[in-house]
Amino acid sequence: MASSSSSSLSRVVVKSSDNNLFVVNKKVASQSQLLKQCIDNMEEKGTNDVILIPLSNVTSNILTLVLEYCEKHADFADDDNNNQELKQWDHEFLKKFDYATLNSLTMAADYMVTKSLLNLCCQFIADSIKDLTVQQIRQIFDIKNDFTPQEEADIKNENAWAFR
């Protein structure tokens, strides 16, 4: 059942930054433009071997999550992005994570050019921080306040309505 005569690959192997290997179905891998590009290039060359794609920026626990997302979305056609069930799944999927994980996931989605996941993460983070106070934002993202008290008061004064 294996070797078809065409030079079409059915699977790729993806390697995480901590050297774990993941065997990924081609349809699933194609959700990432980065992986898709690699596959297309190899197919053009007519390679039949299983190819190994190293991802030096993505750890295995984050890669697992990206692949879980890709697997789910590979089952839906491209124009199915408004599918209610899928949206619900997306939301439940992201809800489980803390900000640090969400952050890494966003970076990985960007690096692997998985646009729908990137947009999803960004919108999810935006939605969850939009009602937070400045203090809470600094805490969550571990940001140091580099304003002097006077500078901060000036900015608040200028747009007092936004701080009510």
Binding site: I129, I143, I155, N159
Partner: protein
């Protein structure tokens, strides 16, 4: 992400402040926001044809809630306000006090910022049109004032009526242009004039903000009455103002409705 949250987050740290205040960020945010809002209200989706964004895409809670600034204190109740636009989320506001005093500024209702251009003296008349336009590359806005100074009837050629074009720039947010047209015809708020030529045919005279020239555009026959009416509405009541959302540039002018009435209440 709502503008209100973004403004609050400007005081998280310096890098957030400079990021959020940058024009590039603002443009991106506006595009995303407009897209998502228009998705929610399909009936008032922005129309791309002449880059006017429907008023309906603005955040309702910030509408017409103007940030008070010192030099506006002269203009209390009982004076007229005219709103033009919006253009890239920005309105051009003209305040009239009595017969002789007028003040023009740009207003961003989402951030509640008011930008005051260098005030130029221009002759004031009741029939005055304003156009304004954004230069996307320079993040610059151009305001054009059409001032009608005479009360003549149908004229022979609009070209001969353009007497004076004086561009001047303050190098900051706005460029001022004065255009003395000597026309006494129907205006809407966006630099378009409805004119009747000697043979009684109506057409639209539109000012091209980029090239700073007037363009003559035929008006669909069915639309003429509604166009005239929309001009009337604007002059009579400031609660409604018209915006031209689409028009045909070819002879057939078959694109239908010229005017959309936008309710400012």
């Amino acid at each position: 992400m709502p503008v209100k949250s973004l403004i609050r987050f400007t005081c998280v740290c310096k890098s957030w402040l400079s990021l959020i205040k940058s024009p590039e960020f603002a443009a991106k945010q506006y595009a995303i926001r407009t897209m998502s809002l228009s998705h929610q209200n399909r009936h008032c989706a922005p129309v791309g044809e002449i880059s006017l964004i429907s008023y309906g895409t603005l955040d309702i809670s910030t509408r017409f809630d103007c940030k008070p600034i010192n030099h506006l204190t002269d203009f209390g109740r009982g004076n007229s306000w005219l709103f033009y636009g919006p253009c890239n989320g920005m309105f051009c506001v003209r305040m009239l006090k009595g017969k002789h005093s007028t003040l023009v500024f740009l207003w961003n209702p989402s951030t509640r910022q008011v930008f005051k251009p260098v005030q130029r003296r221009f002759r004031l008349s009741f029939h005055m049109g304003f156009g304004f336009d954004a230069n996307a590359n320079a993040n610059d806005y151009k305001i054009v004032a059409f001032n009608c100074v005479s009360n003549r009837g149908p004229y022979r050629s609009w070209k001969s009526l353009i007497t004076d074009v004086q561009p001047s720039s303050n190098g900051r947010m706005c460029n001022w242009l004065g255009v003395d047209t000597r026309l006494d015809d129907k205006f809407d708020g966006d630099g378009n004039l409805i004119l009747e030529n000697v043979s009684g045919v109506y057409f639209l005279l539109s000012f091209d903000m980029v090239d700073e020239v007037f363009i003559e555009i035929p008006v669909p026959v069915v639309a003429v009455e509604s166009v005239l009416w929309c001009s009337f509405v604007q002059q009579r009541s400031h609660l409604q103002y018209p915006a031209i959302v689409s028009y045909g540039l070819d002879d057939s002018s078959a694109k239908g409705d010229i005017c959309q009435y936008l309710d400012s209440t």
